[in-house]
Amino acid sequence: MKRTILTVFICSAILMCASAQDEDKTEETLKSTLIQKGQLDGGVRTTTSLFGHDNIPGLGVGGQFRLQIFDYLNTEWFADWITLDLNGAGTRNNAHIGWSVLFYPIRTGRVVPYAIAGHCFDYAKVIPLSTPFEDRSGDIITRWSSAVQAGLGSHFYLTEKFDISLNAQYMLHLGKHLDYELQPTNNGYTLDTDGHSSSGTGMEGHILITASLNYRIADLW
């Protein structure tokens, strides 16, 4: 009986010690293991678009995955849906789907700054305001384009697996110009489109400020 009690006691003690050691190790190595190759994160994001075609801010929502290739290099795969109210004269919708590379000059501590650059595909749709007396669905214009973006940001780790990230990027659209104009009137604004979805080549840029919440899903290698 004594031997049985002793065996149970020793086994339990070993397990408790092992568990306690794991906790200590986690705490000690936390800061140095936040950013490592092979990590896969998933997250949601909210984006504000500023200083674009019409100088009107837009609000967006989206999601992302991050797959870290090397200790100093991460990749981000994202999709966003951004809508803008064109001063009450219409709506502009933008969908972005793309990828970015994140470079970490410093990767210790809970605050990890990074430089970010990448590419995305962009779909834009401009919808002029219709009323009970006027149907302007024929004036809707759309455009598919490609864009490049670059900027700076930082991860803020609240726990080993969870971080809040904030970045600001400039996005430059490459491709045809989306031809519309907001004209001030005595009673607000009116949206003029020329009926063509896009015309001529032109460059159009805007700033994107993105806040995201991310959780580590797996450590792949």
Binding site: C11, V44, L59, V61, T83, L84, T91, L158, T159, Y215
Partner: protein, 184 residues
């Protein structure tokens, strides 16, 4: 001796730290509630609110859905305003009573009850359903019972704008939820 080895093996096999049977440090939470909302111009709404969440180390990852039931008051604005959110919360303690704050981006699937547009093809008046981005800041309290159940109360400020082919309408709203949940 053999008996001792058998007991040791049994202890190891069924110990809390073996084979993922360790005292689990995460929880799955699912909850349901009615959620009254408050808009400007003395207008109120009522929604059915449900969520599913994964809570570990004070971080609660949650997906929330609001099913619009009705609105009352001086300016009801929408006859459809269902909303989906996904985001994270920070729980300040791991005790029974857990205050928390969080942020969730989301979308509104909404239709204005005020602004109609003409469809020239069939000469009828229509209203378009739009999918608009949202943001929401949340604060609340969880109270965990002995087993399985928890109570929660939370306040949420939602911001965004319904943008369709007609006039834009603000989706800004303050919403309260008080309900019961299951924890696994």
């Amino acid at each position: 001796m053999v008996k001792g080895i058998k007991i040791a093996l049994l202890v190891l096999l069924f110990s809390p730290t073996s084979f993922g049977q360790s005292e689990r440090n995460w929880k799955l939470n699912a909850a349901l509630s009615f959620a009254p909302g408050f808009l400007t111009e003395k207008t109120q709404t009522i929604q059915l609110h449900g969520y599913l969440g994964f809570l570990k180390n004070k971080i609660h990852l949650r997906g929330d859905g609001f099913y619009f039931l009705n609105s009352f008051g001086e300016r009801p604005r929408f006859d459809m305003n269902h909303q989906l959110f996904s985001g994270a919360f920070y729980h300040f303690t791991e005790k029974k009573l857990q205050p928390y704050i969080g942020f969730q981006p989301g979308i509104a699937i909404s239709r204005s009850s005020e602004y109609y547009t003409l469809n020239e093809e069939n000469n009828e008046l229509e209203r378009e359903i739009a999918v608009s981005p949202l943001g929401s800041a949340v604060g609340g309290l969880h109270y965990y019972g002995e087993k399985l159940f928890f109570l929660f109360v939370e306040g949420r400020y939602i911001f965004g704008k319904h943008k369709s082919n007609s006039y834009p309408v603000y989706l800004d709203e303050f919403r309260i939820s008080f309900g019961l949940g299951f924890t696994f």
